[in-house]
């Protein structure tokens, strides 16, 4: 197994190390034992129930014994269409274990997990957190046989391909230009922090995690805060199913991400940077740590960077433990503090009170990389890409029913149809942009441009990075149920509308899938989704049911088939035999 990073900044409280301590214990014992939790409770001087609360929040922590090899199979919709069921069967057959448990010899434990960021090479699984991609029944047999032979997953795992399928013509790439460490930083540091922020403002760069909040506003707000120390946080918790652009950036160009963080630190006056890396990407840890070390060696990190006596900057990595909601920036902060990843309220913004209640900016991996590149290539050069009102390029993770799944760096302004053409889409019918929390469109909308121009998305359409293409043979209800099951499991459970609403609306979708719904159910669903959207505490609840609502409008023919008239006031589907099946066991 890869060991999690254990470096910590000296001033950080011990309490923050809880998640790392739990990782260590789980690696040592295979699960988190009562004794571990009791010892940690004494050690960190907090009550046992608080530790149990943290352990039970993250799905990679186990309180029951696991096995020598722990296998997580991805159950996202892309995995489902690429042969998930066959792989699941094969895994159970070969290991002799069932899912959610382990085999008798304690060799294999099988679990499902939501998207692991390998949608371009599904079906994929993590074995002891090492990636295994493009699985098929034969390959599963070989892998399990090798592991039974005593081989380690680390030695036989795949090196996931980066699959960079498309770069803008005329050498217009931004993210995959030749990279020399320190060049962008050098150009930024001859400017004043205010001037750096001004360039970011001119570039119209906005949150590339999918929220598209203007980057410069965060930076400017944080720069003006008096409290110190300040923090720069890189959100590498790429949990939105179907997204893998950050994985490729971190694998291919980790330096540009680090450099973006250092430039941010210079601009806002921060000394500390933290990369919050999702546990699914643990296999990237070694590479990232090596790159950080290289930066220290080159004087790009550490004391008096590039000879500026006033600028010190350090970066460390914090590993997550399995939770989609931690991609929400305030939940991410909570998780970094070793707590349950529950989003905070918007009473204070992170730029006022973020990590450890100090001013903090949190940006996506791609945002930082873009900053480093625009500094290096010059802002005018950067503005040449894309379209007016939406300059630059965007990384798109494209997967599903296409011949060439992978990363597409497009200039803003490309239409959906063009992108599908480049990818070799096969009979596309249903497209999910920006993941389950994003939008779905039918082919009627293929002429729409992908850009960040249109705030209300009536003409152009935004894309946070995930682009899932499904062909006309895929059942829309299956897709929607896959998404709603995902949200159901990933809701943090802290606010009423998201905790209860997700479950209630999921039931409604099931009813629809069972052919029991009427037009009245559709109307109710609209209203209930609206309530969830308007009252939820964070983006998860606010966006969870965007997709079903859009799908109902977008694919109205399909849905009218799913509905049926009321049966004379009777629920014709009530099955008496089924309802008395429990009692019938007592028949004498």
């Amino acid at each position: 197994m890869i060991s999690p990073s254990t470096t910590f900044f000296r001033h950080e409280p011990r309490r923050n190390q809880l998640v790392n301590e739990l990782w260590k214990a789980q690696q040592r014992d295979g699960h988190i034992t009562e004794q571990t939790m009791e010892a940690l409770s004494r050690d960190l001087d907090i009550s046992l129930i608080e530790i149990q609360g943290v352990v039970s929040f993250y799905h990679f922590f186990h309180t029951r014994p696991t096995a020598r090899h722990v296998i997580y199979l991805n159950n996202s919709i892309i995995s489902k269409i690429k042969g998930y069921e066959r792989i699941r069967e094969a895994l159970e057959r070969e290991t002799g274990s069932r899912f959610n448990t382990k085999d008798r010899t304690d060799t294999f434990a099988l679990f499902e997990t939501p998207c692991i960021g390998l949608s371009d090479q599904e079906p994929a699984a993590l074995i002891d957190f090492h990636p295994f991609t493009n699985l098929n029944v034969m390959k599963v047999r070989e892998i399990i046989a090798a592991l039974k032979d005593g081989k380690e997953a680390a030695d036989i795992c795949d090196q996931p391909a980066d699959h960079i399928r498309y770069l803008p013509p005329n050498n217009h790439t931004i993210f995959f230009r030749p990279y020399t460490a320190g060049e962008g930083l050098g150009r930024a540091m001859v400017l004043s922090p205010g001037e750096v922020i001004k360039i970011v403002k001119t570039s119209e760069l906005s949150g590339r995690g999918g929220a598209f909040y203007p980057t410069w506003i965060k930076w400017d707000g944080c720069r003006k805060q008096k409290a110190t120390p300040k923090y720069v946080v890189c959100n590498a918790d790429e949990g939105e199913p179907g997204t893998f652009k950050d994985r490729v950036l971190l694998d291919r160009e980790p330096g540009s991400v680090l450099e973006g963080m250092i430039i941010a630190g210079y601009a806002i006056g921060a000394k500390y940077g933290i990369i919050y890396l999702r546990a699914e990407y643990r296999w990237l840890l070694r590479k990232l740590e090596a790159t950080i070390q290289q930066f220290y060696d080159q004087g790009l990190l550490g004391r008096a960077i590039r000879g500026n006596p006033d600028f010190d900057f350090d970066i460390r990595i914090q590993l997550g433990a399995g939770s989609y909601v931690c991609g929400e920036e305030t939940a991410l902060l909570e998780s970094m503090e070793g707590k349950r990843g529950e989003p905070r309220t918007k009473w204070y913004f992170p730029v006022e009170r973020g990590y450890l209640q100090k001013p903090t900016i949190i940006n996506n991996v791609e945002t930082f990389a873009a900053v480093a590149r625009m500094m290096e290539m010059g802002i005018n050069n950067y503005l040449n890409r894309g379209i007016p009102g939406s300059p630059g390029t965007k990384l798109i993770s494209l997967s599903g029913d296409v011949r060439k799944p992978g990363i597409y760096e497009i200039e803003w302004g490309m239409t959906i149809a063009e992108l599908l053409g480049h990818a070799g889409a096969e009979d596309p019918a249903y497209i999910q942009l920006s993941g389950p929390s994003g939008e779905c469109v039918s082919m009627n909308q293929k002429h729409r441009r992908i850009s960040m121009r249109d705030l209300l998305s009536t003409q152009d359409i935004r894309c946070g990075g995930s682009f899932m293409v499904l062909n006309r043979h895929r059942d829309i209800m299956t897709i929607l149920l896959n998404f709603s099951e995902f949200f159901l499991k990933e809701s943090c459970g802290i606010c009423t509308p998201c905790r209860a609403g997700n479950y209630i609306i999921h039931k409604k979708l099931q009813k629809m899938a069972n052919g029991l719904a009427t037009q009245a159910d559709v109307e109710e669903m609209r209203q209930w989704c609206h309530i969830m959207k308007e009252t939820s505490r964070c983006g998860l609840g606010k966006t969870a049911y965007n997709t079903p609502l859009m799908a109902i409008n977008e694919f109205s023919d399909y849905f009218s088939e799913k509905l049926e008239g009321a049966g004379n006031g009777m629920n014709l589907k009530f099955n008496m035999d089924e309802a008395i099946s429990d009692y019938e066991k007592y028949k004498v």
Binding site: L48, P497, R537
Partner: protein, 428 residues
């Protein structure tokens, strides 16, 4: 930092009317001072930042929906509180709490002193638009002094943020996530609380989830927290005049008690002298009151008490649907299952074995689950009437009072106007 409470007064508008309020004050408090009721469950004045978990105080501020407890008063702020949409949203959120938990008020010590129940009354919740989830929730009896009843918990977070031992350690903490989220109690830390601290924990819980053994919230009717009048000044519309007394067409009514206790039928008979009017106005057909067993003619109105727990209930209910123009579900059991539905979180097998096989009054090995072709068969869970057939109207209550029932029935049969007063729909 407490609410930044400068004494500067600013002008805000609530539903179009201008009010003066202290700048920086929490909107829930500012509205209360201005005499505008905004419901809230998790809100605790002294916490900064506020908890913001229940969302029941959702209002519109400058055109955006936000929880009022998350909003500081600012100059010129335009607040909407009582628009139809917002009233509905807030109601829906409290309904979600009822649907999600297992709230059986008649068997709860907090009934009558319960913030959630009170909020249900204040918002005029008569039935749940959402299906009850009947999740099997954990009740923790392990602590020496406290019982943690997760069936009743609304996850407001008050206890998590407020209850600490003298050593500064938490006693309560959320466990799991999503629909499985519950509050866990630290038995070791709980033992370190003083009696006063333990009692304070019970009292800060807005429902009956935290119970201290031997310290029941037992106050006689009339002295309990929410026996008094509504917090809202003019709740609902007043009774309209009795209307005309012109002769009415006589109607045929059928009644039945399915999985219920006949309490609603008792209540129906409790209308005192008006029972004399009744004779002129309606005739009872199939009903326990007449002991008519079979439908021989079509009825105008069917009154159903109780939910469906066995095959006979289902058949009877279907028969009512076929023979009645209007079907009314009366009482909690008919509406969502009620007390019989307490078994819904437990598998039927366990219930039967507990009752018939492992019962203490049984001789060893003598117990047997009754099964005979003449006996109705038990369903795997108790179903609400509207899960089986279409129900036209629901009259909530346990039981609904006689005058309430009578008002509603008159309304249904002859269109008489009526309004339900606050104290009339308090059933605790």
């Amino acid at each position: 930092m407490k609410n930044t409470r400068s004494e500067k007064r600013v002008t805000i508008t609530i539903d179009g009317k201008p009010y003066q309020a202290a700048e920086g004050r929490n909107l829930v408090d500012a509205a209360k001072e201005a005499g505008v009721f905004i419901p809230s469950l998790c809100y605790f004045k002294h916490l900064d930042p506020p908890l913001g978990t229940c969302r029941a105080c959702t209002c519109k501020v400058n055109g955006r929906n936000v929880p009022a407890c998350m909003q500081r008063v600012e100059e010129g702020m335009a607040v909407e509180v009582n628009t139809p949409e917002l009233i509905d949203i807030r109601k829906a959120l409290v309904e979600m709490m009822f649907a999600e938990g297992n709230h059986f008020c008649p068997s709860c010590v907090k009934s009558g002193n319960c913030d959630l129940q009170h909020m249900g009354y204040e918002l005029g919740i008569t039935h749940m638009r959402f299906p009850h989830l009947f999740r099997d929730r954990h009740t923790d009896y392990q602590s020496r002094r406290m019982v943690l009843e997760n069936n009743r918990c609304i996850k407001c977070r008050r206890c998590v943020e407020e209850v600490f031992t003298d050593q500064g350690k938490r006693v309560f903490m959320y466990q799991n996530r999503g629909i499985e989220t519950l509050v866990g109690i630290d038995h070791e830390q709980e033992a370190l609380l003083t009696e006063a601290q333990a009692e304070a924990a019970m009292n800060l819980c807005p429902t009956g989830a935290i119970v201290v053994r031997g310290k029941r919230v037992a106050k006689p009717f009339g002295l309990r927290s929410f026996d008094q009048q509504s917090e809202q000044e003019d709740y609902g519309i007043r009774w309209s005049a009795n209307g005309d007394r012109s002769p009415r067409e006589k109607k045929m009514v059928a009644t039945v008690s399915l999985a219920g206790c006949f309490g609603c039928h008792m209540s129906l008979l409790d209308i005192d002298e008006e029972i004399l009017d009744l004779v002129d106005l309606v005739e009872f057909h199939k009903s326990p009151l007449t002991d008519i067993k079979r439908f021989t003619q079509r009825c105008d109105l069917g009154i159903v008490e109780g939910g469906c727990c066995n095959t006979e209930n289902i058949e009877t209910l279907r028969e009512f649907r076929e023979n009645c123009d209007i079907l009314v579900a009366v009482g909690e059991c008919a509406i969502w299952g009620g007390l019989p539905a307490m078994r819904n979180t437990i598998p039927l097998g366990e219930c039967l074995e507990e009752a018939f096989i492992n019962a203490q009054t049984n001789d060893e090995g003598e117990g047997r689950v009754p099964y005979h072709e003449d006996l109705p068969k038990l369903l795997n869970r108790v179903y609400a009437c509207n899960e089986i057939v279409k129900i036209d109207y629901l009259i909530p209550g346990c039981p609904p009072s006689a005058s309430h029932l009578w008002k509603v029935i008159r309304n249904i049969l002859w269109g008489e106007e009526f309004s339900v007063l606050y104290h009339e729909f308090k059933y605790d």
